[in-house]
């Protein structure tokens, strides 16, 4: 390394790295030249652990990967297992899954909104408003399945509980509250000149680069690429809902913010449609107590709030998977960090990292 650059370590005990992440930064005065993420501080050996668990036992473990949106992880794994089994899921269970995952998407995006404004300097004001809103949704999860964060709310074959009128009224009330809250945050943030200075033209990533680096999720859509697995390769009857895929143009942090706010609104649309058209019937398909899956392998990916979440499962005919490989969106998105940060100021690294919405539980597994 050329000695004229200053090398500093950001993290692993840094409040803005969203977990235990170490970034080795090379600085030319205050301009970032090189970013080297150093991963593995939260490694728990998840993929190896799953090889000693039965298919149903893996589901609670997937909660702990991306602990901010646990249901999306549950759904990704469970859909892969069901695809490998060739299991048909009742329509009502599919709709309940859609409602739960879309609530989870709102929770993730609204939580992100608080964190990223926090990173940009709006010290905890908006974070408190958004977390108050997140609390309402966590109460819905508590009412539905009994846990708040690592909820284990989806089983192989369906969902554990049915949705009743009390829960539906709770969801509808929370959606109305969220609409109000988003309007308030919009008033504070969207035209605020500090926010504009911190985000417009910062961390710009072109659509070409984004595709080259395998970026997925809202960050990719902010660069102008219209790619949403819910729309392009529909799963869990997403093709029956009417929603738009918002895209940005500039590919900077401001566009990522706008895309995520628009996605919250689209998620609300999906939840309202799902509640309105909720079909009657069973909530779980018949699954044998000891689940043995014939030999084979499968890869299935879903649109998690952070990007494309895929599970590869190889079965050897027993009740335990031979190999489960996870394609986590945060890990893939992380590799475009260096190109985004190059040429920006040191203080912008924190906001760019926040705007990517990475979570270390998912990166280190």
């Amino acid at each position: 390394m050329d000695s004229k650059f200053l090398e500093i370590n950001m993290g692993p005990q840094h409040p803005s790295t969203h977990g235990v992440l170490n970034l080795k930064l090379s600085l030319d005065n205050e301009v970032v030249v090189k970013v080297e993420p150093n991963l593995g501080y939260l490694h728990r050996g998840m993929e190896k652990l799953w090889e000693n668990r039965t298919y149903a036992q893996v589901v609670p473990f997937t909660d702990r990967l991306d602990y901010f949106c646990a249901i999306s992880n549950n759904l990704g794994y469970v859909l892969a297992v069901e695809k490998l089994m060739g299991l048909e899921i009742p329509k009502r269970a599919q709709y309940i899954r859609v409602i739960l995952t879309e609530i989870q998407r709102i929770v993730n995006h609204i939580g992100w909104l608080g964190f990223v404004t926090n990173d940009a300097g709006a010290y905890y004001t908006i974070n408190f408003y958004t977390f108050e809103e997140r609390e309402e949704y966590l109460e819905i999860f508590e009412e539905y399945v009994g846990a708040r964060l690592t909820i284990n709310a989806i089983r192989i074959g369906g969902v554990p509980f049915d949705i009743d009128d009390k829960l539906i009224s709770m969801i509808e009330k929370a959606l109305v509250e969220t609409e109000k809250k988003i309007k308030d945050i919009d008033k504070i943030v969207t035209r605020n000149r500090i926010w504009l200075h911190r985000t417009k033209g910062v961390g710009v990533f072109s659509a070409e680069d984004a595709v080259q680096f395998g970026l997925t999720g809202p960050a990719l859509r902010a660069s102008g690429v219209k790619w949403d697995i819910r729309k392009d390769i529909p799963y869990s009857s997403y093709d029956e809902f009417d929603f738009d895929v918002p895209t940005g143009t500039a590919g900077d942090i401001y566009d990522r913010y706008l895309v995520r706010v628009e996605e919250i609104k689209q998620s609300m649309r999906i939840i309202r449609q799902a509640i309105k058209n909720l079909p009657s019937g069973e909530i779980a398909a018949k699954v044998p107590k000891v689940l043995k899956i014939p030999e084979g392998e499968i890869f299935h990916s879903i649109e998690a709030p952070k990007g494309e979440l895929g599970f590869y499962i190889k079965s050897n005919g027993t009740d335990k998977p031979e190999r489960v490989k996870m394609k986590s969106p945060s890990f893939i998105n992380m590799q475009s960090l260096e190109s985004m940060c190059k040429g920006n100021m040191l203080a912008d690294v924190v906001v760019i990292l926040g705007s990517l919405d990475v979570l270390l539980g998912e990166i280190d597994k």
Partner: protein, 153 residues
């Protein structure tokens, strides 16, 4: 152009934001003062796992070990034997709180409804050995707070 300048000069967007924060200053507080106020857990709350007795007061557990096989974290260690009426009952029921991840799979798998999640969420103790539960300590009528904190409370 002039409108843009005026908006900038009079800090319109700042005042707009400040008004929102002012509104929240006088709105209902969302915080709960925990030790004085305790939020009631929901109906399906997944707290610590407890064993239940039947209507006649006898144990419901038949030591079938389904919970032991279902548990992803391997919390259970159960041994059963036939009692005088010829029914299988647990003679040893060790359950490790340290390992439990509160996933609720054991309660869902139980064929007799003996094992259920309670609503108790205050599970801290200064003594680590108290995190290992044995058969007599597993029943729902057992005083957990006395178990965890001793005579201090």
């Amino acid at each position: 152009m002039i409108i843009k300048f005026l908006r900038m000069f009079f800090l319109v967007e700042m005042i707009q934001g400040m008004l929102v924060t002012l509104k929240y200053t006088f709105s209902r507080k969302a915080t709960i003062q925990y030790p004085e106020e305790v939020k009631q857990p929901s109906e399906r709350f997944r707290g610590i796992v407890r064993l239940h007795r039947g209507e006649d007061g006898g144990p419901l557990c038949i030591a079938c070990k389904i919970c032991q096989r279902t548990c992803p974290q391997n919390c259970f260690d159960i041994e059963g034997a036939k009692d005088e009426s010829g029914k299988m009952r647990p003679v040893r029921f060790d359950w490790n709180l340290e390992r439990c991840s509160f996933c609720g799979l054991c309660a869902e798998a139980c064929p007799t409804g003996a094992i259920r999640n309670s609503k108790e969420f205050r599970l801290s103790t200064p003594d680590r050995s108290k995190l290992m539960f044995h058969l007599s300590e597993m029943y729902s009528d057992y005083d957990l707070q006395k178990h965890f904190l001793g005579e201090k409370i």
